[in-house]
């Protein structure tokens, strides 16, 4: 028996709740003042709260500043390049911007009576940790009908932080040849597209083609988004575009660090959402990523870029109180009402609601996921999102969801013999390879997983025969296309056609009659 049908009969389903706070109304830190805020069952006064947030911010960021850990217990903070801060206009990134600016870039160091920098030369504010800081904002209005442009609003929000460079980007830059040429330094006219099925959505095979006609970047972006099958896919696609636009920008500007304003709450949402979209293999990348130089094809310049989320221990509630009590201006994120639907939106609602009843949940989620690592070796990077690629996906999918069987006997035979790896046919190399063997599980799912809901077709913005892909999706040459695992073993996987399947098991088939 599975269970009694009650989801909590298994004691693993039980969540115990605790009182909001259980140790009195005084601040747990100074033990003198009456508390002003409850953070995960603990009470803090306003005076102790602000330094608490700053400490959490530093503790999450500073161990990742220096390129190498070194041997010193308190090494001098020195980054190998500049800093790029991803700014969405939302609460988290507004708080992050304020913290980064005040900690590392604001004014001259205060001095003591002797004119020496107060706090010693090793104090973070007295050291120029990064050469400069650029704030990068990605305008998403082109993705959403009726959305208005907010770039200038964001620019003006930065007015109170002098000396920071503002880098406005647009979501459609991902499809813009001139932007890609600027990033990579080499002219590349080719754009790839995905062939669409007759329903206007990508087919299971994910066949690549060269683009025959050129769309403007904005139209290409819209054609791309329109061809995605679910709101979940649209949310993920936009997220990936923003992440990669920022990464390429950071690399182009010689940045050693890209900092993002994800709070602990946001992090918990992305972790659960990542799991719900099949991204278990890449779960560590939700915490921190390190992009080695030359990861992207053709991008020659720049060293490695570390993606750090310094607010990963600060909840959304703490961010809100911090912003309120410190007068931080939060311009607000563009209203991505359509974009946060689907699984990311459902997850956000779920996690925020859970956090209200169980205030420790978000940190539990983050701590649990931090203890995980990908199982097995990676076989390269996903061509679309650049996360680690797990081997054997096609076999797994074919085994657990049978989607075609032209001949019952064929499939019966297939099922009883173990699936064998096949190698690429020589004549296939002349064509563009199907994309599905070069995409991670989440991206394949994004392109091909359909919704069961009845559709309510809004008129498509643009209907185009093929789906334009971002400029960074490139067929690599034959040698690179064969990923080699750490132990030197070759992993080559390609989807078998029905004919190939039949040929490979021909000896086991009985003649039809």
């Amino acid at each position: 028996m599975a269970s009694c049908g009650n989801p909590i009969a298994d004691d693993s389903a039980l969540m115990l709740s605790r009182p909001r706070f259980d140790k009195g109304k005084h601040c747990v830190k100074c033990k003198l003042n009456l508390g002003n805020i409850v953070i995960r069952h603990a009470v803090y006064c306003r005076d102790c709260f602000t330094p608490l947030v700053i400490v959490k911010f530093r503790r999450a960021l500073e161990p990742h500043v220096n390129a190498n850990a070194g041997t010193s217990k308190r090494p001098k903070l020195k980054a190998s390049g500049s800093l790029v801060l991803g700014f969405s206009g939302g609460l988290g990134s507004a708080v992050l911007l304020d913290l980064v600016y005040k900690s590392y870039f604001a004014g001259r160091p205060p001095t003591d009576e002797n004119g020496d920098p107060r706090g010693g030369i090793n104090h973070p504010r007295n050291v120029s940790v990064w050469t400069s800081c650029a704030v990068c904002y990605v305008e998403v209005s082109s993705a959403i009908p009726e959305a208005h442009e907010r770039t200038e609003e964001m620019r003006s929000a930065l007015a109170s932080y002098p000396n920071l460079k503002f880098i406005p980007l647009r979501l459609e830059d991902a499809f813009d040849e001139s932007w890609w040429c600027r990033m990579t330094g080499n002219p590349d006219m080719s754009q790839l597209t995905l062939e669409l099925g007759k329903d206007g959505l990508p087919t299971e095979g994910l066949n690549l083609a060269h683009s025959s006609n050129t769309l403007s970047p904005k139209d290409a972006l819209r054609a791309f988004l329109t061809a995605l099958p679910t709101p979940t896919a649209v949310s993920r696609a936009i997220q990936v575009l923003i992440r990669l636009l920022m990464f390429f920008t950071a690399q182009f500007h010689g940045a050693s660090h890209l900092v993002l304003g994800s709070s602990l709450t946001t992090l918990a949402v992305s972790l659960v959402s990542c799991v719900a979209q099949g991204g278990g293999h890449a779960i560590r990348e939700e915490f921190q990523e390190e992009w080695p130089p030359g990861l992207s094809p053709g991008v020659e310049r720049g060293g490695s870029v570390r993606v750090v989320r310094p607010l990963r221990d600060v909840t959304m509630k703490e961010c809100a109180a911090f912003a309120w009590w410190n007068g931080i201006r939060v311009p607000g994120r563009p209203r991505l009402t359509r974009v946060i639907t689907g699984i990311p939106g459902l997850t956000k609602d779920f996690v925020v609601r859970l956090e209200k009843d169980y205030p420790s949940t978000v940190s539990t989620i983050a701590r649990t996921c931090a203890k995980l690592e990908p199982k097995g070796t990676s076989v390269g990077e996903c061509w679309f999102c650049y996360s680690h690629l797990q081997g054997g996906l096609a076999d797994w999918k074919a085994r657990i969801s049978i989607r075609s069987h032209p001949n019952l006997k064929v499939v019966e035979r297939l099922a009883s013999s173990s699936p064998a790896d096949s190698s690429v046919h020589p004549d296939q190399t002349s064509r563009l390879p199907p994309l599905d063997t070069h995409l991670c599980y989440s991206c394949i799912t994004m392109f091909t997983s359909r919704s069961s809901r009845k559709s309510s077709f809004a008129p498509p913005l643009i209907h185009h025969q093929d789906m334009p892909l971002p400029r960074w999706v490139k067929p690599q040459d034959a040698e690179e296309a064969i990923p080699v695992s750490k132990n030197g073993e070759l992993w080559v996987r390609s989807r078998q056609s029905e004919k190939e399947c039949r040929e490979s098991i021909a000896d086991f088939l009985l003649p039809d009659n």
Binding site: P7, D199, L201, H281, I365, R399, S404, S449
Partner: protein, 390 residues
């Protein structure tokens, strides 16, 4: 970017459709789909499609549905090398949909692919008046229908307490903890009595996806590491596996419906509604947004593992000092809960803190009722055989 209804032909190569058929306007397409009814099966392209597969969204015929459902379970069994020929396998049978379909499919596959298994039905009687008595009748009918020996083991027989008595003692809150812990150990003991090598349970894909989410939210890394494993095995306990690991709950219901299987569906009278929601409701929402979510979550669960340095810090499994069952503490959960019941402090053994309080009260009295010592395997006792064999 609106949600689109699947095309039944989605995912199939359709060389017979020349590109001239490509439609540039989706509203036009919608219309075309409407006039194409009735739909033929997306798999055999022959029979009339009568259902839409929850897992893939394809519209397929009844025979193809049976075929893909059974073949996927078979694939799962073969890929994981679950059985050896000659294995004695107990099917945990509750009379509910999952275990009824499992018994039917195990019997079907065992015959079709010559697994060479000896199959048994194993039922646990929790002692809930008006709940399990009825579903046990279903299991007894299954025993006849499938011609499999049946063993019923009751909580009363094993622990000296029925769930009715436990609820009378502790009330409805937390009673599910008792029931869950007691059932797990009861299954192992029943299996040991049957001298089987293996228990298969009806846990389906929805159950596993829910457990993945739940373990992440509760921070239960030990369970998170193993909850997507198809087969688990303790030190000296019997192998336990989940052949329905990739089968959607909806498809199990659909299978039972089209096969006209006899199953029992009521909810436990002691199940408090207050706990409903949480992970299960969330999962249903995710599935509604994108049906692949269930399988996607399981894929995630299989794609990560505990970091090596964390694994090293995990508690070693040991055996319960009192009953010999596997345990992560001196006393296993069942013995702890039973001791609480016997000492009239059942409500206080759910949490670790309360547990310490219980310990502080001194050692358990000598006259305490305990669970018989566990040995695996034990000689078979009192197995009810199908009537035609007796």
């Amino acid at each position: 970017m609106d949600e689109s209804d699947e095309d039944p032909k989605t995912g199939l190569r359709t060389p017979e459709n020349p590109s001239s058929l490509r439609l540039h306007d989706r509203s036009h397409l919608d219309h075309t789909v409407l006039v194409m009814a009735p739909m033929s099966c997306a798999l055999c392209q022959n029979a009339k499609a009568i259902l839409k597969r929850p897992k893939t969204g394809q519209q397929i015929c009844k025979e193809c549905f049976f075929f893909v459902f059974e073949t996927e379970v078979h694939n799962t069994i073969i890929q994981a090398h679950l059985f050896e020929p000659g294995d004695r396998v107990a099917i945990g049978a509750s009379g509910g949909k999952d275990s009824t379909v499992l018994a039917y499919v195990m019997k079907t596959l065992n015959e079709r692919y010559n697994y060479g298994l000896e199959l048994f039905l194993l039922s646990i009687d929790e002692g809930i008046t008006g709940y399990r008595d009825d579903s046990l009748e279903t299991v007894k009918r299954n025993q006849q229908q499938y011609n499999m020996p049946l063993k019923i083991l009751s909580y009363e027989e094993l622990y000296g307490w029925t769930m009715d008595a436990i609820v009378a003692e502790i009330g409805k809150k937390n009673n599910c903890t008792f029931c869950g812990v007691f059932r797990r150990q009861a299954l192992d003991r029943g299996a040991s009595a049957l001298e089987v090598d293996h228990i298969v349970t009806g846990h389906n894909a929805d159950d596993i996806a829910e457990t993945v989410l739940m373990n992440i939210m509760r921070g239960d890394i030990a369970r998170l590491g193993r909850c997507t494993q198809i087969c688990t095995r303790g030190e000296d306990t019997i192998k336990r596996s989940k052949p329905f690991k990739y089968a959607y709950e909806k498809e199990i219901v659909m299978y039972a419906y089209f096969k006209k299987l006899d199953y029992f569906s009521t909810e436990c009278i002691y199940s408090p509604d207050a706990y409903r929601g949480h992970a299960r409701t969330f999962l249903k929402d995710l599935e509604a947004a994108r049906p692949s979510a269930i399988i996607d979550i399981i894929h995630s669960g299989e794609a990560f593992e505990l970091r090596e340095d964390i694994k090293a810090t995990q508690k070693q499994q040991q055996t319960c000092k009192r009953c010999g069952y596997m345990s992560s503490n001196d006393l296993c959960k069942a013995c702890t809960l039973l001791e609480g019941l016997e000492r009239g402090m059942a409500g206080s053994v759910i949490t670790d803190r309360a547990r310490k309080k219980l310990d502080a009260m001194g050692p358990a009295p000598d006259n305490l009722r305990t669970i018989p010592h566990f040995q695996s395997p034990r000689p078979a006792v009192s197995i009810q055989s199908p009537s035609q064999e007796s």
